[in-house]
């Protein structure tokens, strides 16, 4: 009996010790994961990779700050600008119990496909780059927020700029056949017509098309002042380049979908004078812009942070602040905290309205000049040293 008691006692001590040792070890090694989804491959990879790096930078800084009792880890997945791939990535994230929140997407069709998954699985989700208005305005999911302005909020200042300020009065519209492209046409056309603009033609092109000469030759015959493009980088760059090649030397403008260095790289010399608009202030004019650029360079990322790097950086910052305040366990509390947040980040102060849409909607204007996007106000075009095609 004595021996039995001793065995039981020793076993208890051993098991208790093992329990404490392992539980302490588990606490120290506890990992909280935050998901990131974006186009890491495919025609818009430059946008996705830059945003992923900026997102990663925010997480690295959080881990280095020592504010968190656990290790924060980024799970970066590729949506390849494809809704089906995006949904598969979203399902992978929500299936991982360690993932407490996520941020994603540059392409609106992908975001429109995945937000339902995050809503169903109650995972707080912040859209960093997709700008279709329905993502927040139509579905109004409590856990889905967005740090970028909608395409309506981008088209409005573009109209003011190119129509009211620069005086272009006859437009041809080309958009891609995605929901993003269609929505751009729907947003731009009435705004422009209300300002007295004549829309000479409206055409749509399939994403992935490489030869736009037939449609551009047709538009050349209509003799518009300008071409508005409602689409993204690759098609936009090819259209701008082929406009020059068919002799359609007219002003070309688009919202932030084309505002990427890749656009100017693909368009080559034809990219000169292309006009675009981008959410937020130029990085050098942001309060923490210089620090961000320096940290990004020090971190050793090979790819540039791109047009949406600051958005992704602030998305991560918002999620991290929410985790630090309410903890990673209660996702409903995280959602509530994010919706009510007043976050002072790289892009300024971000708050969300009742639909989850950011109220921080400053946009900047850019022009393609010598192979670089130059802030309009600082450009040779604005100063009169170079001329855009005449209206």
């Amino acid at each position: 009996m004595k021996i039995v008691c001793r065995i039981v006692r020793v076993s208890l001590i051993v098991f208790t010790a093992i329990f404490f040792i392992t539980s302490v070890g588990w606490t120290q090694a506890k990992v909280v994961k935050i998901g990131f989804i974006g186009p890491l491959t495919g025609p818009n990879a430059a946008q996705g990779v830059g945003a992923r790096n900026a997102f990663d930078l925010a997480i690295r800084e959080a881990n280095a700050s020592g504010k968190f009792q656990y290790k924060i880890e980024m799970v970066a997945l590729d949506d390849a600008s494809d809704p089906a791939t995006g949904v598969a990535a979203a399902l992978k994230l929500v299936s991982d119990p360690a993932v407490v929140a996520a941020s994603g997407h540059w392409n609106s069709p992908v975001a429109l496909a995945t937000i339902h998954t995050f809503h169903t699985y109650r995972i707080p989700f912040i859209v960093w780059g997709a700008i279709h208005p329905d993502i927040t305005g139509f579905y109004k999911y409590p856990g889905v927020n967005r740090v970028a302005p909608t395409l309506v909020q981008e088209n409005s200042p573009l109209c003011d700029w190119v129509i009211t300020e620069l005086g272009y009065k006859a437009f041809s519209i080309i958009s891609d056949t995605s929901s993003y492209g269609e929505m751009n046409t729907k947003a731009f056309r009435p705004m422009a017509e209300n300002k007295g603009v004549k829309i000479l033609s409206v055409d749509s092109v399939t994403v992935g098309t490489t030869d736009f000469r037939p449609i551009l030759t047709k538009i050349k015959g209509l003799n518009p002042d300008a071409v508005y493009f409602g689409g993204v980088v690759m098609e936009g760059a090819l259209i701008k380049d082929q406009m020059e090649k068919v002799g359609l030397k007219r002003m070309f403008c688009a919202i932030s979908g084309i505002k990427d260095d890749k656009f100017l790289e693909v368009a080559g010399p034809s990219g000169e004078g292309a006009l675009s608009i981008k959410p937020g202030k130029p990085i050098e004019k942001l309060e923490g812009g210089t620090k961000f650029v320096k940290s990004y360079e020090t971190a050793g990322y090979r790819e540039p942070y791109g047009a949406y790097g600051p958005n992704a950086y602030d998305s991560a910052g918002i999620i991290l602040e929410a985790i630090s305040k309410v903890g990673p366990e209660d996702k409903t509390a995280l959602m509530k905290y994010i919706r009510g947040i007043k976050y002072k980040g790289l892009m300024g102060e971000t708050t969300f309205d009742a639909t989850g849409q950011t109220t921080n909607i400053i946009v900047s204007r850019f022009v393609g000049q010598d192979g670089k996007w130059v802030v309009w106000e600082d450009s040779a075009y604005s100063k009169g040293a170079r001329k855009l095609p005449k209206p």
């Binding site: 990879a45 390849a80 037939p214 090819l238 380049d241």
Partner: protein, 307 residues
């Protein structure tokens, strides 16, 4: 009127690339009765080979030393040779083992080969999933004649296509190997009995078809300034469609088929309201029309089988 002439130029240029791809399909079908479904991928492989050669030449500083009119033709010829031999290699490992097997097996094998080629390009090329900027290897000058804008690069593309087609016809009509290709196209067994080396002739056919395909890939890249690893899939389908419309197995038919597809796509985009996203639909409707009403194509001969 100017616009119509401009659209005809657009259509001719689109037709050029389809023609060069379709010639390959017709050569292979004529020689072996095989539809080489990965031919479109081999064509784009030619463009990627050129891109590698260009990067290599840039790295070695040759682009600075040599003038453009020397290094560009050199690169194109080298890409043609490399892609041509790759075409022969693919025939040896994928098509030859099925020479006496049911046709369906060869078809599946060539489809699988296309996937292998595409994925190899995607995985082995840096950032292979993304579109690659193709260097502007052709002169970019333009000039007007009677209100019509003509570009030097377009004229060169047109000239290269015409030159290659003429050379190919001379090769097929005037050389011993050309005669051998024609012979095995008519009757492989009889040709072998006459002493024609089947393996060598088939290899020559694949060398020729793949080399011409490489030029098609390079011209697509030079025309659009970008190439993508998966462009060969649609390019192959279009080239095959052009071959079917012109008459599968008839090399002259490839030219007519390629031009018809080029014209249909261009004019659908230009003159049918809202037709731009549906250009492929119109092109394939034409193919379906031919399959129903003239399955042998425009220049194809009806085949009668004795039973």
């Amino acid at each position: 009127m100017t616009e119509i002439i401009q659209q005809i130029i657009n259509a001719l240029l689109m037709g050029c690339t389809y023609t060069l791809i379709a010639i390959g399909f017709n050569l292979f079908f004529g020689a072996l009765n095989v539809v080489h479904f990965s031919h479109g991928d081999v064509c784009i492989l030619g463009a990627f080979v050129t891109l590698i050669l260009y990067s290599l030449a840039k790295f070695l500083g040759l682009l600075v030393i040599l003038p453009k009119f020397i290094y560009v033709p050199l690169m194109i010829i080298m890409a043609m040779i490399i892609t041509g031999f790759l075409g022969v290699f693919f025939e040896r490992i994928v098509i030859k083992p099925f020479r006496y097997a049911p046709l369906l097996m060869v078809l599946v094998a060539t489809v699988a080969l296309g996937i292998v080629v595409r994925e190899t390009v995607r995985l082995s090329f840096p950032h292979g999933s993304n579109p690659q900027i193709f260097p502007r290897i052709l002169p970019q000058h333009s000039f007007h004649i009677g209100g019509v804008l003509l570009r030097l690069d377009n004229l060169i593309i047109f000239g290269i296509t015409l030159f290659l087609i003429a050379m190919m016809f001379l090769f097929i009509k005037r050389t011993k190997m050309g005669a051998a290709i024609r012979a095995i196209s008519q009757d492989g067994e009889a040709a072998m009995m006459m002493g024609i080396n089947m393996d060598r002739t088939v290899a020559a056919t694949f060398l020729l078809g793949s080399a011409l395909g490489a030029v098609a890939g390079i011209l697509i890249g030079a025309y659009n300034n970008i190439i993508r690893f998966d462009m060969g899939l649609m390019g192959g389908v279009k080239g095959f469609s052009a071959a079917v419309v012109g008459g599968l197995g008839n090399v002259y038919g490839a030219i007519i088929g390629g031009l018809i597809l080029g014209f249909v796509e261009t004019f659908a985009a230009a003159f049918i309201p809202g037709g731009t996203p549906y250009t492929d639909v119109f092109a394939f409707l034409v193919v379906i029309f031919f399959l129903i009403f003239r399955p042998s194509g425009i220049l194809g001969e009806k085949v009668y089988e004795k039973v």
